[in-house]
Amino acid sequence: MASGRADSLQGALSLLVLKTLAFGEMHGYAITQHIQRASQEALRVEEGSLYPALHRMEQTGWIASQWKLTETNRRARFYSLTEEGRRQLEAEEQNWARLTTAVAQVLAWS
């Protein structure tokens, strides 16, 4: 179904965030930095999308947050993966792989 596919694609941001947090606890700013660097600057997460997404994911229960001090002794909200989030990451990773293979196959016919 078309909407299912659209969901998978729009889920890309949550997939990226989940994957990023799999490396450990991080605050929002660090998440944007990581995605930007890991994608060689190709993907730039807009803050306007990131924070609403973080809050949505926290409410869904995939991630948890906690106010902590940074290395520079600043108060920041750190996010980490919950067990549910870890399962979600696995599922989404598989979904994504399926999708990209499908797209690649379609493209190979051009």
């Binding site: 890309a12 600057e41 807009e46 803050e47 306007g48 990131l50 409410q59 869904t60 016919w109």
Partner: protein, 861 residues
């Protein structure tokens, strides 16, 4: 946690949440600012920048951000980097796109360079807009100006600040290296005042010198530096030209080289200043007072012309004058051809852009996935379009850079190719800052044109985020683009077919003489050479030429065929009143030695050639068929008498022969009435010898022969008639070749475009075709189907193009010789060429379709 926080929200802890969010955002901002400061920004800058980057929460903020210049540029830079990476991943597509754009932009730059130098750049004279050429007409035909009338204009027209008339003349200077020719400009009125340029050295003419025709001279910088070795003490020295001695009083700055051949300027002699009002031989030029418009000045000229006609009915009746901006007058002949070439290359560029557009669209599917990801990451529609445009901008930049390089080569080639002397200021053409600026604009424009369709497409994809398959939509768009390409190239192909036909007609239309193995020798004597001296020289030269081994005939005339008209005027038919139209019409009067017409191989239709005339023999003339037809509708030509106005009285000539028309000009088809008189009855010091011989390498023997009896005489030109014809045809030939070349490129690009969509469709339908083949469809049928689809697309474009030609070909009309802009053969040829090219472009994918392997095609199920 989830439940708890939700509870807190609903229980009015909203402030708490808001505080939390506030703090988190604050932290994010500070981190960004800290990073920016680490990279060298001041605190305030960094904070502002961080706030800006935090950005796009609402549309309003988004727009505000885009208004910020630095941010905007930064966004572009980032997008360009991304675009570069994406292009590097597709070298094939990138190469095709860059090559297309380089050809389009390069051709445009090269032609623009020529157009700019010839048509657009301001002249190196102060306020050139105020310079006006005065064109005089008598009975609607252009005629020369007269010193007395020019004086009247100078005093009677308030709009004129300064007025001048001039004629050019070749004089002989006897220098240390023997005699040499000098181009002298004889002026009436304030020539330097009109140009508005004082001499760089010395002084301008005084009013008294100008009015009285004093023997003083101002030199062109070129003449002074090349012929006089830039003599620093030239002022006050004298220059001996023919019998006159001129005192040098000034040297012009190097920028002023008008007329192009100018070497010496001197006021016309006192006798010339008194020329009677009837004669017309001047080119008129005036400088308008500041702030006067062309229309105002023209109004005054017309009023004064009417007043003069009333005052001098004998000479000034039926005369009118028209002012024309100097620059326009200079480029009048070149303008249509140059603008045509410019329009052509811009069309080629447009076709190239559309091709790139097609290439970018072809990646639609892949792009739309990528875009969907970006959208889900919060990218706005604007940024998607910007990324797409960044990609086409990058392609256009590469194409432009390559194009400039092509243009550097192209401009030199064009300068070598275009016949010297036909384009004013052509030699100044060079790729300069103006051209680069123009190119920058064209690059941006091309990027927009090429990126527009894909960008629009992207923004539509975004609305249905993530739907991968939008190929059908993209196919319609691409088909429309290809139809447009075919249409444009049809227009260009029709244009070049018309020009080629016209060139063929021009070259194959009868000349009226036989140019092969005809050597021509041109010797110009000064206007004050005595008739006796001319005749003596002519007789000696003819005798000497006839003695050259291999020369079977030698003769002389005042103007060779295809070199334009010479002396002309209305004629009378003795014993009959002509219609008013004919009695005003000009007839060319040419002088020729008796054997001239036979020498050049002219065709005698009836009667006989001229015979040598004794001292008191009857005056005889030969007329051409056009004259016979126009003036003797009853056909009784031979034995009738025609009379020419000569110094106020009519001199009758008996017609002894009718000859086939000689072409007066290669590019003008209009037949002109023409009569040949004995050379002895004509005064014309520019002698044209025609020699019939076995060999055409007569330059040496001719020079030696002339040196034998007249060592001081300078031979202006020795050439063959064939070479002269070639030269006369070179301007239309070059334009035709260039236009055909560009039309060919356009056609090739359109064919690539057509091939692109048909191949794409075949690829899309591979599976379907595979199934049909597996079910037993004949490969030939599949092939035909694909071929037909290509031909249909091409035919739609072709039909649209032919419709468009109805309008555009009119513009060509003035450049065509012997064909109309609705020439059927050219249209049929165009249709044929386009269909063949279209068939070939679709045949390749058609063949591929018929060879689809069903098993491979079905495996993807």
């Amino acid at each position: 946690m989830g439940l708890l926080s939700k509870l807190r929200n609903t229980l009015g802890g909203g402030d708490r949440v808001a505080d939390d969010v506030q703090a988190e955002m604050q932290f994010h901002l500070e981190q960004t600012a800290a990073d920016l400061m680490a990279s060298g920004m001041t605190r305030t800058e960094a904070q502002r920048e961080a706030r800006r980057r935090f950005g796009a929460v609402t549309r309003l903020q988004d727009e505000a951000r885009d208004a910020d210049m630095i941010a905007w540029l930064e966004g572009w830079l980032r997008d360009l980097r991304l675009a570069a990476r994406s292009l590097r991943r597709r070298p094939g597509m990138t190469l095709t796109a860059v090559a297309s754009l380089a050809i389009g932009l390069g051709a445009t730059a090269a032609i623009f360079t020529i157009v700019d130098a010839v048509l657009l750049k301001p002249l190196p004279l102060p306020e050139p807009d105020r310079l006006m050429v005065i064109r005089e007409f008598r009975n609607g035909q252009q005629s020369g100006g007269n010193p007395q009338r020019l004086k009247d204009w100078a005093t009677m027209i308030p709009a004129f600040q300064a007025t001048t008339g001039f004629y050019e003349e070749t004089l002989i200077r006897r220098g240390a290296r023997g005699p040499e020719k000098v181009n002298v400009l004889r002026t009436f009125g304030q020539f330097l005042g009109v140009l508005g340029v004082p001499p760089a050295e010395g002084r301008p003419f005084t009013t008294a010198e100008e009015m009285q025709g004093a023997p003083v001279a101002v030199l062109s910088h070129r003449f002074w530096s090349t012929r006089l070795n830039a003599d620093p003490a030239i002022l006050g020295k004298t220059l001996a030209l023919n019998s006159a001695t001129l005192t040098v009083i000034g040297v012009l700055p190097p920028s002023v080289q008008y007329p192009e051949e100018l070497e010496v300027i001197t006021p016309a002699t006192p006798e010339m200043q008194k020329t009677q009002r009837r004669a017309g031989f001047l080119a008129g030029l005036s400088r308008l007072k500041p702030g006067v418009t062309l229309a105002e000045a023209q109004g005054q000229v017309s009023t004064v012309a009417a007043a003069l006609a009333a005052q001098y009915p004998d000479t000034d009746k039926n005369r009118s004058a028209r002012l024309m901006p100097f620059i326009e007058d200079q480029v009048e002949d070149a303008r249509p051809a140059l603008l045509l070439l410019l329009a052509t290359v811009v069309s080629v560029l447009l076709i190239a852009c559309v091709n790139v557009s097609g290439l970018l669209l072809a990646r639609g599917a892949e792009r739309s996935r990528e875009s969907s990801i970006r959208v889900s990451l919060g990218a706005g529609r604007g940024s998607l379009i910007r990324l797409q445009l960044a990609e086409s901008l990058l392609l256009a930049l590469m194409g432009g850079t390559l194009g400039i390089t092509l243009a550097l080569v192209g401009v030199d080639a064009l300068k070598a190719l275009l016949p010297a002397g036909t384009l004013h200021r052509l030699e100044t053409a060079a790729v300069d800052a103006r051209v680069v600026g123009f190119m920058a604009a064209m690059v941006v424009l091309s990027a927009l044109v090429a990126g527009l369709a894909p960008a629009l497409k992207l923004s539509r994809v975004q609305l249905s985020a993530g739907r991968v398959s939008k190929t059908r939509n993209s196919r319609h768009l691409r088909t429309a683009l290809v139809v447009g390409q075919v249409m444009l190239s049809t227009v260009l192909v029709v244009g070049s077919a018309l020009l080629a036909r016209s060139l063929f007609e021009m070259k194959s239309a009868p000349l009226g003489f036989i140019p092969q193995r005809l050597t021509i020798v041109e010797i110009d004597f000064p206007w004050d050479t005595e008739k006796v001296r001319l005749e003596q020289f002519t007789q000696q030269a003819l005798d000497a030429f006839r003695a050259i081994p291999g020369v079977s005939a030698a003769s002389v005339t005042d103007r060779l065929p295809t070199q334009g008209g010479s002396q002309s005027g209305p004629i009378l038919v003795v014993g009959r009143t002509l219609t008013p139209e004919l009695s005003e019409r000009s007839v060319s009067m040419r002088g020729a030695s008796p054997e001239y017409l036979a020498t050049i191989g002219a065709t005698l239709k009836s009667g006989q050639w001229l015979t040598p005339r004794g001292a008191n023999g009857p005056r005889e003339a030969i007329v051409n068929e056009t004259l016979a037809r126009l003036y003797f509708p009853d056909g009784r030509v031979l034995g009738s008498e025609i009379a020419f106005q000569r110094g106020g009285k009519a001199v009758p000539y008996r017609i002894v022969g009718i000859m086939a028309d000689l072409r007066q000009s290669l590019t003008n088809r209009e037949p002109a009435p023409e009569a040949f008189l004995p050379m002895s009855d004509v005064y014309w010091p520019m002698l044209r010898f025609a020699l019939r011989s076995e060999s055409t390498s007569l330059a040496r023997p001719v020079r030696e022969a002339v040196a034998q009896f007249s060592p001081d005489t300078i031979i202006d030109k020795i050439s063959t008639m064939d070479a002269e014809l070639e030269k006369a045809a070179s301007s239309p030939s070059v334009i035709t070749y260039l236009l055909s070349g560009f039309a060919g490129v356009a056609l090739l690009l359109a064919a690539i475009g057509l091939f692109g969509i048909i191949a794409g469709e075949v690829a899309e339908r591979t599976k379907e075709i595979g199934i049909r083949l597996a079910l037993g469809a004949a490969p030939g049928r599949v092939q035909m189907e694909v071929l037909r689809r290509g031909l249909i697309v091409a035919s739609v474009g072709l039909a649209a193009g032919l419709l468009a030609t109805l309008g555009t070909s009119q513009l060509l009309e003035s450049m065509l010789y012997g064909v109309t802009s609705r020439d059927g053969l050219s249209l049929v040829a165009t249709v044929g060429v386009l269909l063949v090219v279209a068939a070939f472009a679709s045949w390749i994918p058609a063949r591929r379709a018929s060879r689809v392997d069903p098993t491979v095609a079905l495996r993807s199920e």
